[in-house]
C-alpha cells in the first residue's frame, strides 16, 4: 500500500517536472526577447529540476543514492538562481535595457 502510494507520488512529481520542463523549453524558444526568455527558462528550471530529482529520490528510497540526489538538488537550488541573476545583471549592464516594450535587438 505504502509502496504503491510512494510510486504514485513519484510519478506525479516526475510528470509535473516534465510538464514544467517542456513549457520552459517552449518559452525559451518562443518568447520575443532576452529577458522574457530568461524568465521562462530560469523560473521553470529550478522547480522542474527539483521535482524530477524529488521523484527520483522517492524511487531510490533511503541510502547513499538519496543523499547524493539531495546534494545535487541543493547545488541546483543554489547555483541556478545565482547564474540567472548574474546573467540578467550582465545583460542589463551590457546595454540591453529592461524596459518591457522593447523590441528585438540583434
Amino acid at each position: 500500500m505504502i509502496a504503491l502510494l510512494l510510486e504514485g507520488v513519484s510519478i506525479l512529481c516526475l510528470g509535473t517536472g516534465v510538464f514544467l520542463l517542456v513549457s520552459g523549453g517552449i518559452g525559451l524558444l518562443r518568447f520575443p526577447e532576452v529577458f522574457s526568455r530568461m524568465h521562462a527558462a530560469g523560473v521553470t528550471e529550478t522547480l522542474a529540476a527539483s521535482l524530477i530529482l524529488l521523484g527520483l529520490m522517492i524511487l531510490a528510497g533511503w541510502g547513499i543514492v538519496m543523499f547524493k540526489l539531495l546534494l545535487i538538488l541543493l547545488f541546483i537550488l543554489i547555483t541556478s538562481p545565482t547564474a540567472s541573476h548574474a546573467l540578467a545583471k550582465a545583460a542589463v549592464h551590457g546595454g540591453l535595457g529592461a524596459d518591457p516594450g522593447r523590441n528585438e535587438t540583434s
Binding site: 547545488f75 543554489i78 547555483t79 545565482t82 541573476h85 548574474a86 549592464h93
Partner: protein
C-alpha cells in the same frame, strides 16, 4: 544524441562569431559527455564533464579576450576543401563497411587483453573499478608518460606567457570586481569549500566508483579558478602561490616516479606495487592510492598554473611580447 552532436559541430563550422563558436563547443562537450554515459564510459564522461564543458571554454575565452572575437578573412578555396573533405569522408565510410556492428560482443577489441582485465582484475587488484585498475596498475607506465606530458605542457605555457607578476590591486581585472558581485561572492563562498571537498572525495573514491586523480585534479583546479575569477587573480595568487604550484606540479610527477623506483629497490619490476607491502593485494592498493595522488597533484597544479599564465598575459599584455 549523436545527431545533436553532428548538428552542433556543423553549426560551429558555420558561425563566424568566435564567441558563439566557443559557447557551442561547451554544449558540444556536454553532449559528448552524455553520449559517454549512455555507452557506459562513466569515467570518461566524468573527465569530459570537467574538461570539455568547463576548462576548455574557459581557456578559449581567456585566449579570445586577448586575441579578439571576430574572424576577418574570407574562406580560402572552400570548394576544393569541401571536395577533399568529402573524398576523405567517403573513403572512411567505405572503410566502416567492414567494421563489426556497434556493440557486438564478439568484436575484435573485446577478444584479446580486455577479457583478462574484466575477469581477473577484481581478483588480482582487489578494487571494483576496472578502469582505475587498468589505468593505475596494468598500464601504469603509460599513465606516467601522460602525467609527464601534462607537466611539460604546463611548463611550456608558463615559459611562453607567465610574467610572474601578480595583478596589482588597482589593475583592470581587480577593478572589474568592484562591479558589485555580492550575490555571486556569497554563493561562491559557500560553494568553493564544497567543490574542493568533492574533488578530494573523487580523488580517494576512484577505486570504488567513477573518479580518480585526473578528474579530481581538474575539479580542484576548477574550484580555485572560480575563486580567482570572482575575487581577482591577484588575491588568488596570494592564497595559492605560483611558485608553490610549480613545485607541487613537479612533486606530483616525482611521487609517481619514485613509487616506481621504490618498487624496483624492493625487488620487483618498475611500478610493480605488490612489492610495497608484505601482502601483495594491500601493496597494490597502496601503490594505486599514492600514484593517483601524484596524478591529482600534478593535474590540479598544472591547470591552475595555465590559468594564472593566461590571466597574467591578460593583465599585462605588453610585457609578454
Amino acid at each position: 544524441m549523436l545527431l545533436l552532436l553532428a548538428i552542433t559541430a556543423l553549426a560551429i563550422a558555420w558561425l563566424r562569431d568566435l564567441f558563439a563558436a566557443v559557447m557551442l563547443a561547451g554544449i558540444y562537450g556536454l553532449l559528448s559527455a552524455s553520449f559517454f554515459v549512455s555507452v557506459d564510459a562513466v569515467d570518461v564522461a566524468f573527465t569530459e564533464a570537467a574538461v570539455g564543458a568547463g576548462i576548455f571554454p574557459l581557456l578559449m575565452l581567456a585566449a579570445l579576450a586577448l586575441v579578439g572575437r571576430y574572424e576577418q578573412t574570407a574562406y580560402r578555396h572552400p570548394l576544393i576543401s569541401l571536395l577533399l573533405v568529402s573524398i576523405t569522408g567517403a573513403t572512411l565510410v567505405l572503410g566502416t563497411l567492414d567494421m563489426p556492428a556497434f556493440g557486438s560482443p564478439d568484436a575484435p577489441p573485446h577478444s584479446h587483453v580486455a577479457v583478462r582485465y574484466i575477469e581477473e582484475s577484481p581478483k588480482e587488484i582487489g578494487i571494483p573499478n576496472m578502469v582505475t585498475s587498468v589505468l593505475a596498475d596494468y598500464r601504469s607506465f603509460d599513465t606516467l608518460g601522460e602525467v609527464a606530458v601534462i607537466f611539460t605542457a604546463a611548463m611550456g605555457v608558463l615559459g611562453l606567457l607567465f610574467t610572474g607578476r601578480a595583478a596589482s590591486p588597482g589593475s583592470a581585472t581587480e577593478r572589474a570586481n568592484m562591479y558589485d558581485h555580492r550575490v555571486l561572492r556569497v554563493v561562491s563562498k559557500m560553494l568553493i569549500p564544497l567543490i574542493l571537498l568533492f574533488a578530494l572525495y573523487v580523488q580517494f573514491h576512484g577505486e570504488y566508483g567513477p573518479g580518480g586523480g585526473f578528474q579530481a585534479g581538474v575539479i580542484f583546479a576548477a574550484g580555485i579558478i572560480l575563486y580567482a575569477m570572482l575575487f581577482g587573480f591577484g588575491n588568488a595568487q596570494r592564497v595559492v602561490r605560483p611558485a608553490l604550484l610549480q613545485i607541487l606540479a613537479a612533486c606530483g610527477v616525482l611521487i609517481y616516479g619514485s613509487v616506481g623506483v621504490v618498487c624496483l629497490l624492493s625487488g620487483g619490476n618498475f611500478l610493480d606495487y605488490s612489492q610495497l607491502l608484505p601482502d601483495p593485494l594491500a601493496g597494490r592498493h597502496l601503490g594505486i592510492l599514492v600514484i593517483e595522488l601524484g596524478v591529482g597533484i600534478t593535474v590540479a597544479s598544472s591547470m591552475i598554473l595555465i590559468f594564472y599564465a593566461f590571466a597574467s598575459a591578460t593583465v599585462n599584455p605588453e610585457e609578454v611580447a
